[in-house]
Symmetry: C2
Subunit: 360 residues, 2 copies
DNA sequence: ATGAAAGCGCTAACAC
DNA sequence: GTGTTAGCGCTTTCAT
């Protein structure tokens, strides 16, 4: 059934080495020989067994990507970008989702050392620094998303404080003063939304506007329903913000839905800025202004980090000496020091008030 | 630095077989021995090399899923469900997207025979029957999505004609008579939207309503922008439908946006039904009525199809003739005949007119 | 330029 | 119950 290198070699009357040479495009093969072997390959319909190749080379060509939730379009779009970026380096992507649960995140970081993968790109939500400090196995690990851990792994995230400040500045320039922040999580300061909340505070302070903590609305999760609940809670508490900066677009969308239900107009009564630049945000009754992280850059940098460290490991191994004297050098810094990489972002300002003009 | 079975065996002073027995939870091991080996495993931090195991067993525990586009929330959500369904069978998922391009779809079906995967779940958009007829390699292939090919592969899709008829019937019962269909593709009748268009025609005919072909709007793609363009074209052509049945929710959302821009009210002026049950559809200014395919069932059936055929192949091929002699041709059917599986669907009727009540 | 042979790390006969 | 050993299919020195 399954035809192997040896079968091809026998069929062509040559050694396996020669067939291997042809398959791997080794340059020093005579054209005649190459053709003969190629014919045998075609005759038998030979396909190399990648698993065997991987075992031999110690590489699989697969990198894993673990995001919280594919149902969140941000992560879905990011996953698509990672797949494309990986393909550019001849890598395929094993996808997993953690549902933002710490145990699942932990499982991913620990389990992947035994997996058939060369490296892992992880977007943690709940994971703590100490979970990672224990070490994560043999392959390179790169963290994406806004949390910052002081750990020896590459970390890729936009400057969330600056991005949040940009969003809040935009609302201030619109003349708004009671700017709510939707998407705080009370339990731990290291939560994902913390940096954006910090940005909100910093920008208000810089402009001399009082940061009213009553306008900070906590959320249970990061989806539309959570945004709706947060906005409803805010309004039920008697707050009347004139602007909303939401942790992400989904929360903003949920909040806008509630405002619509309660007869508040966006942006006249309440201006809204989200985060993530979901396509979805462009097609509501009101086009959502949003902070747009450069997803493609994030994806590309993450993949390049993995690929680079893999290559670095190779160089180091083949050269023997040199290296920065990192004894066991497994898992951590195996191709240079860890880096903080900062892709760009942009404020997509497009809070158009559709429908009104057309209606006259 | 990688510690292997042999290292553990030496460290524990036993044979590799014994270590392997412990690792694989082989029952007939004395507790004392088991503990001794386990300690050696812990001491050395041994992790089994899955690649080697895979090579040996001929299985990788990985199935591939290829969808058109992760940016489409329907496919993103489906991918999440497939990952969960696969995890229930101890499989992981390699994800790819074809961008709905025939060459990419073809590449996936052909390339996967050489991949490190046990099977493939493919949602084709452009692929033709003859592309698949050529054969696809060694592992099981299962097709999902509405296209029907008369080919020996399992195929999983809801009854699209019945689902479309349900949607149109709903609009007819609302008293609408000029029901547009958004999402036709003129080029080939085997295109994805064909069955839904058929359902539209069939239901109108059954109710004695003239199917006005001028109300059938073609699209370039399946995204929001395509729905917006199609709706705009329809209106620009002077058509005034009182209802819209869209091929999917994204097209419906794009169309609603255009209606909003032109002062048409949903659902008063134009009632809308979409398809896919995206969460997004529940959070617009108007909650979108939609046909909801049972995504989890689709995912589960697809995974079970692969897993089942893999198991079947095992039973059949347990006589692995090696060495001398003529290899008796191992047949094509590897686990039973191909099946058509039909998960359910439901009409999610929730075209509420929010905002008015609250405002009134 | 091509061939012979030694494993990569693991599992599963088959012995003891 | 535990040890020995032969490969899974491939790449890769080391010869020739």
């Amino acid at each position: 059934m399954r035809v192997s290198l040896k079968d091809v070699a026998e069929h062509a009357g040559v050694s396996v080495k020669t067939v291997s040479n042809v398959v791997n495009k080794y340059p020093h093969v005579t054209p005649a020989m190459r053709e003969k072997v190629q014919r045998a390959i075609d005759d038998l319909g030979y396909r190399p067994n990648l698993t065997a190749r991987h075992l031999r080379k110690g590489r699989t060509g697969i990198i894993a990507l673990a995001v919280p939730e594919l149902g969140n379009p941000y992560f879905a779009e990011l996953a698509g970008d990672v797949i494309d970026a990986a393909a550019a380096h001849d890598y395929t992507v094993l996808l997993d989702h953690t549902q933002g649960r710490r145990e699942r995140e932990l499982l991913v970081t620990q389990g992947f050392q035994a997996r058939v993968i060369d490296g892992l790109i992880l977007n943690p939500l709940e994971l703590e620094a100490e979970d990672l400090a224990a070490g994560t196995g043999s392959g390179p690990l790169v963290l994406i998303g806004e949390r910052s851990y002081d750990l020896p792994y590459d970390h890729i995230a936009i400057d969330n404080i600056a991005a949040a400040r940009t969003a809040v500045r935009h609302l201030l320039e619109l003349g708004r003063r009671r700017i709510a922040f939707l998407g705080a999580r009370g339990d731990r300061p290291s939560q994902p939304s913390h940096l954006r909340l910090l940005g909100w505070q910093a920008e208000l302070a810089a402009r001399g506007v009082t940061a009213d903590e009553a306008l900070v609305a906590p959320v249970e999760g990061w989806d539309r329903a959570d945004g709706a609940a947060a906005m409803a809670a805010l309004l039920d508490a008697g707050q009347r913000p004139d602007a909303v900066f939401a942790y992400n677009d989904l929360i903003a969308i949920g909040a806008m839905r509630v405002m619509s239900e309660r007869g508040l107009r966006v942006p006249e009564d309440v201006a809204v800025v989200g985060f993530d630049d979901l396509t979805e945000g462009r097609y509501g009754a009101v086009t959502l202004t949003t902070v747009a992280p450069d997803k493609k850059a994030i994806a590309r940098l993450a993949v390049e980090s993995i690929v680079g460290r893999l290559a670095g490991k190779n160089d180091e191994a083949s050269r023997g000496g040199d290296g920065s004297g990192d004894g066991d050098g497994i898992g951590r810094r195996e191709g240079g020091h860890s880096r903080e990489l900062r892709p760009g972002f942009a404020l997509m300002e497009r809070e158009s008030t559709l429908g009104r003009a057309a209606r006259g």
